[in-house]
């Protein structure tokens, strides 16, 4: 039976959806607006919405005080680097679990997921000490390794779910047709899995880009990514809302743009398998 919506309900749902959407979008909008206000206007009560003196001084000041570009480079290295390394590990792992599962495959998958249920703070001390002893504190290498480890379970899980959707017959056909393991993955599995791999990468880059626990705790200056750049405006000299907003806007802009251009891919990847 087709489900029909009365016009009235349709309007109600549409309004509700818009309200929810705006509610989610509002903090971002407010941050961007605040970044163009003076510090005085930023804390004014009642706040002005659009009719204030637009200024770029926060941006110039933030630019003078910190090396924005270096933070961007650090963020790019950490998020793209951890994603690339993660992919090298996760693709074969997910491939093995999806196409030659054993009795313990499900258990291993659950175990991997369970590591995400542990609060990160729970392993803070050991990781910190290990990193200190290995000289990895405040290094890009160290942070990339941590990000890889943090996101690996999610990557394996996502890829596993995508690979599961690929009929095993097709891979067996490739095997019968004389494809070696590498050729099978390169010519048959990979092309079919591209949407899944792409959205896994995107999601992982976004997660790593925004990750703030480890990046704040394991970096000081040299390896600090954009999250640390934002944080540096929130505490030491008291609160400067306008500058903090300017820093936040600069930090999220690249990832927002990436997300905007890849949204079709992201949505397709995240709902892959849900609709068939």
């Amino acid at each position: 039976m087709a489900r029909t919506l009365t016009p009235k309900r349709k309007v109600a749902f549409t309004v509700l959806a818009w309200v929810l959407g705006l509610l989610i979008f509002f903090p971002i909008l407010w941050t961007v607006l605040t970044s163009f206000k003076t510090e005085g206007e930023a804390i004014a009560n009642p706040p002005s919405f659009l009719f204030f003196d637009w200024t770029l001084e926060n941006y110039t000041e933030v630019q003078e005080r910190s090396n924005y570009l270096r933070h961007v480079i650090n963020s790019v290295v950490i998020s793209f680097g951890s994603t690339a390394i993660g992919l090298l590990i996760a693709v074969p792992a997910a491939w093995a679990m999806a196409f030659s599962p054993t009795k313990r495959t499900k258990g291993i998958l659950m175990w991997m997921l369970s590591t995400k249920m542990l609060p990160a703070v729970g392993v803070m001390m050991p990781i910190y000490l290990i990193f200190r002893d290995l000289g990895l504190l405040d290094t890009l290498l160290g942070l990339t390794i941590v990000m890889t480890m943090v996101n690996l379970p999610i990557m394996v899980w996502m890829l596993y779910t995508y690979f599961k959707e690929i009929p095993g017959d097709i891979l067996e056909a490739a095997r019968m047709d004389g494809a070696q393991l590498g050729q099978e993955i390169l010519y048959v599995l990979a092309p079919m899995a591209v949407p899944g791999i792409a959205s896994t990468c995107l999601l992982n880059i976004i997660l790593a880009w925004n990750e703030a626990f480890w990046t704040l705790n394991l970096t000081a200056a040299d390896a600090a990514p954009l999250t640390a750049f934002i944080a540096s405006y929130s505490s030491p000299e008291g609160l400067f809302w306008a500058k903090l907003s300017a820093a936040s806007t600069m930090a999220i802009a690249p990832i927002l743009i990436l997300g905007w251009f890849s949204q079709r891919q992201l949505v397709r990847g995240l709902t892959f398998g849900a609709v068939k």
Partner: protein, 339 residues
């Protein structure tokens, strides 16, 4: 050359024994059909031959060479899957060319062979299409094309027609038989459909619960089934089985008579019953007759006959067409010399 020999082959999944100590010899150029009910291990057996599964025990030889531990690609066999298993991201041309590319042939040779296969299979006009733009029958032909280009030692088919509608199935059945005539290559064909088995096979292997019940030509299985299972599986409509007193009278545990070997008479015969449902097919009529003390018996009469529901009728087995089975279900008297 395409001689395949299985010796004492077993396959277990966990604790479940799917193939049990199986011996089989397939001659070069034969069309062999594995037939049996769903879940009896046909696909598993085919996959063992293909090398897609490893045997738990036993030995597989192709042309005298032991291939038990050889990877699928190195056995020189081609397989057509039930789901077709075409590469969805490749054109028909690339699909057919794939095994040749893997074999490292040069482009000119690949193009020539693909064109030839496409011509044989009427796919020339579809070479640039993707699999999803093809009908079921065309997809099936692409799968066959991909199998024939590499000129394998033998073809393996796993229920290749079960996703097609009835009319197309009959056509493809003929096409595959025709292909076998043309190529003369060994073919192993898995199906649960005894009609496919009967119409296509040189040799039928009847499987049941992982063991071979009987091996023989279609007519051998039809005329002299070795046991109750084969007798019941081969032939349509199914053979009538009569047990109890009637069977004991002739010293058997079960008597089997095929519907087409029953003669009917209005006034004289071995068993007397009442006509139940009559199925009119035009060419034949299947009568379901209720016989007291025996149960339902199906009889086939050629052409149309006019009998009413509830009418009385006498049935007798044709002389020499009775199968007698012993306690263990094995045949005791082939084609019942007893009358």
């Amino acid at each position: 050359m395409g001689n395949i020999r299985l010796s004492n082959v077993s396959k277990t999944f966990g604790t479940q024994e799917v193939i049990r100590d199986l011996n089989l010899n397939i001659e070069d150029g034969e069309f062999v059909v594995f037939v049996g009910p769903s879940g009896c291990g046909k696909s598993t057996l085919l996959r063992l031959i293909a090398g897609l599964e490893d045997v738990s025990d036993g030995r597989i030889e192709i042309n005298g060479a032991d291939v038990t531990d050889l990877a699928p690609a190195r056995r020189g066999l081609s397989m057509v899957f039930q789901s077709y298993a075409l590469y969805p991201h490749m054109s028909v041309r690339s699909n057919i060319a794939f095994p040749l590319r893997m074999a490292g042939l040069d482009k000119a040779a690949i193009d020539r062979k693909v064109a030839e296969a496409a011509r044989v299979l009427n796919l020339t006009d579809y070479l640039t299409r993707k699999p999803r733009q093809l009908s079921g029958g065309q997809r099936q032909r692409v799968a066959i094309g991909r199998a024939i280009v590499r000129e394998p030692t033998a073809f393996l088919f796993d229920e290749p027609l079960s996703n097609l509608d009835a009319a197309l199935r009959v056509n493809m059945r003929l096409e595959i038989s025709e292909l076998h005539q043309q190529l003369g290559t060994t073919m192993i064909y898995v199906t649960h459909d005894q009609i496919e088995a009967m119409t296509m096979a040189d040799k039928i292997v009847v499987l049941n619960k992982g063991v071979v019940e009987q091996v023989g030509s279609p007519m051998e299985l039809y005329r002299t089934p070795a046991n109750l299972f084969v007798a019941g599986f081969i032939g349509s409509p199914r053979m009538n089985f009569i047990n109890g007193n009637e069977a004991a009278k002739v010293g058997a545990s079960v008597i089997g008579v095929r519907p087409e070997h029953m003669t009917m008479s209005p006034d004289d015969g071995r068993w007397c019953g009442e006509v139940g449902v009559a199925e009119h097919l035009g060419s034949d009529t299947f009568l379901h007759v209720k016989v007291d003390g025996i149960g339902q018996i199906t009889a086939r009469a050629p052409g149309e006959i006019d009998l009413r529901h509830g009418e009385k009728i006498f049935l007798s087995p044709e002389p020499g067409k009775m199968h007698l089975f012993g306690q263990n279900g094995e045949i005791v008297s082939a084609s019942g010399a007893v009358s």
